[in-house]
Structure formats: C-alpha cells, structure tokens
C-alpha cells in the first residue's frame, strides 16, 4: 500500500494543483480584481506565484522519491514511482505553462 501511494502521489498532486490553478484563474477573471504588484497585474502575479508553488512542490516530491530513506524498497516500485514523479513535474511545467505565456482574461 505504501508503494502504491509512492507511485500515485506526484500525479495526484499535479491533478490537484492543475485544477486549483484553473479554478483560481476562473475566479480572478470572474470577479475582476484590480491592481498591480511588482509592476505586473495582480492576476498575473497570483497565478505566477501559484505556478511556482506547484513546481516547488513537485520538485520536493521528486527529491523525496530519490532520497534513500523515503524511496520504495523494491527496485520495481522505485522505478515506477520515480517515473511518475517525473511525470508530475513535467506535467506541471507543461500544462501550467500558459500562466506565463497567454493572455489571462480574454
């Protein structure tokens, strides 16, 4: 069961952050808040911060999956859990990249 969790955790976290950031985007556009921070519109800053947080989270998870004291015991589970760990990180970078690439509320 532990191994199953190791295998599932990173993509699960991706799913959660992905949905949350999509929700945040909907919320910001639906309830137009105004203002700027660091010379950027506040929407962009908030979304960017969430994106950064998601990336850090995935990096931490990946780190844990490689760490001897937290990694799975069998070779197979180690392989699969690290593979899905990479999936989590790459999926986060890839699928949330529009945060820094596209217009946000049109």
């Amino acid at each position: 069961m532990r191994d199953i969790i190791r295998i599932l955790i990173a993509p699960l976290v991706w799913l959660a952050t992905f949905s949350a950031i999509y929700g945040l985007h909907g919320l910001l556009c639906g309830h137009g808040i105004n203002g700027t921070a660091f010379g950027l519109p506040i929407e962009r800053v908030l979304l960017g911060a969430a994106f950064l947080f998601a990336i850090l989270l995935q990096t931490a998870l990946l780190f844990a999956l490689y760490h001897p004291s937290l990694a799975a015991s069998s070779e197979f589970s180690r392989f699969v859990s690290r593979a899905t760990g990479w999936v989590g990180l790459v999926a986060t970078l890839w699928s949330l990249s529009p945060v820094v690439l596209t217009t946000y509320c049109v």
Binding site: P98, L101, T102, T103, V106
Partner: protein, 205 residues
C-alpha cells in the same frame, strides 16, 4: 458555402493554414509509424534490450513526441492569441441572440432596429459578435469567416469575425438543439463601406 478550407476572412484563413500544416505533419508521422511497422516483419539481427529501450521508448516514445508537441502547442497558442477579440479602434459591435430556431441580430451603431436570420456587417473591418441565447445552448458559426462560439444561457460570449470582401456567407447553429436543428441556418451579408452606411441609416431591402 460552409467550407472551413475555403476561408473568406482572416480568422478562418489562419485556421485553415493551421490545418494544412497539421495535416502535413500528421501525414509524415503516420508514414513513419507505418514504415516502422512494416520493417518489423523483415529479418533482423539481434540487439540488447537496454539499447532497444533507449531507442524505442526514450527516443521515439519520449523525446520525439515531446519535441513535436511543444512546437505544435506553441503554434496553437500563438494563433489562439491572434484570434482573440481584443480592444481596438475600428471594431464594429453587434449582438446575436439565438432562440429555437432563429437568430436575431442587433447593432450597436444602430440601436433602433434588429434583423432576423441575417447579420449585416461591413467588409474588411473586424466585427465583435456578442453571442447570447434566449433558451437552450446554440453556437454561432460562419465557417468561412471564423470558428464557432457557443451561446450559453446567462452569459455573453464575444466572437471576432471579419470578412475580407463584400458578399453573403452562410452560417449555421452548431450546437445540437432538438428537432429544428437541421435547418437552423442564417446568413451574414458583408457590405462595402457605402452600403454599410446605408444599412445603418435604415435603408436596405
């Protein structure tokens, strides 16, 4: 008449180009896969599994698609950005309200009247259509001018269309709406500048 590959406006043109590029790319990839598949049947010399995993799974299965897809995604996002209804000086604003089974069009420049079944626009100028519905979901689609956009109860969606030249373009409602759906069509008439002014002044047909 309804062909997306016979574009008559910038948005439809951009998307048609996108389609031809994707078709070319897809054909190449398809050919590659089929060749690999056929080659599997010839006599081969032995190799080791580690090498195969590197070539097939990491090379062809990971690096290759990610490269192609990254390029495609970038292309798609750029095109998408270009087609958005951004603010601008020359924009004509009209409204399209769908109801089973007809469209009613209103004009910001001529608030006093509306037209049923035919939308009038000026040629060569960007037009923002505010799409709404009075009943179920519909979709506003003039294939030769631009992509489609849904009319959702309680919401107003803005679609940017533009016709390069004066003429009549056919549109359809493109979200299934029950028995009248087959014949749920409308027309867009693009006028040259003079006719457009005449239209706004109320003297047409």
């Amino acid at each position: 008449m309804l062909s997306t590959v016979d574009p008559a406006g910038p948005a439809a043109q951009t998307i048609a180009t996108l389609w031809w590029v994707m078709l070319a790319g897809a054909s190449l990839i398809f050919a590659l896969v089929m060749v690999l598949l056929v080659l599997a049947f010839r006599r081969k010399n032995a190799g080791d599994d580690a090498g195969r995993v590197r070539a097939w799974i990491v090379g062809l299965g990971l690096v290759f698609p990610m490269t192609v897809l990254a390029a495609l995604l970038a292309y798609g996002l750029i095109v998408g950005e270009r087609l958005l209804p951004r603010e601008g000086p020359d924009i004509v604003k009209v409204g399209a309200e769908g109801r089973l089974s007809a469209w009613t069009f209103t004009y910001e420049d001529a608030p006093s009247f509306s037209t049923d079944g035919t939308l009038h626009i000026p040629a060569g100028r960007p037009v923002d259509v505010a799409v709404t519905t009075a009943d179920v979901i519909h979709s506003f689609w003039v294939p030769r001018l631009a992509g489609k956009l849904d009319a959702i109860p309680g919401r107003t969606n803005i679609l940017r269309i533009e016709a390069d030249e004066a003429g009549t373009y056919t549109g359809v409602s493109a979200e299934f709406s029950g028995t009248g759906y087959d014949s749920f069509t409308f027309y867009v008439i693009a006028h040259d500048a003079a006719n457009w002014d005449a239209f706004l002044n109320g003297d047409f047909e």
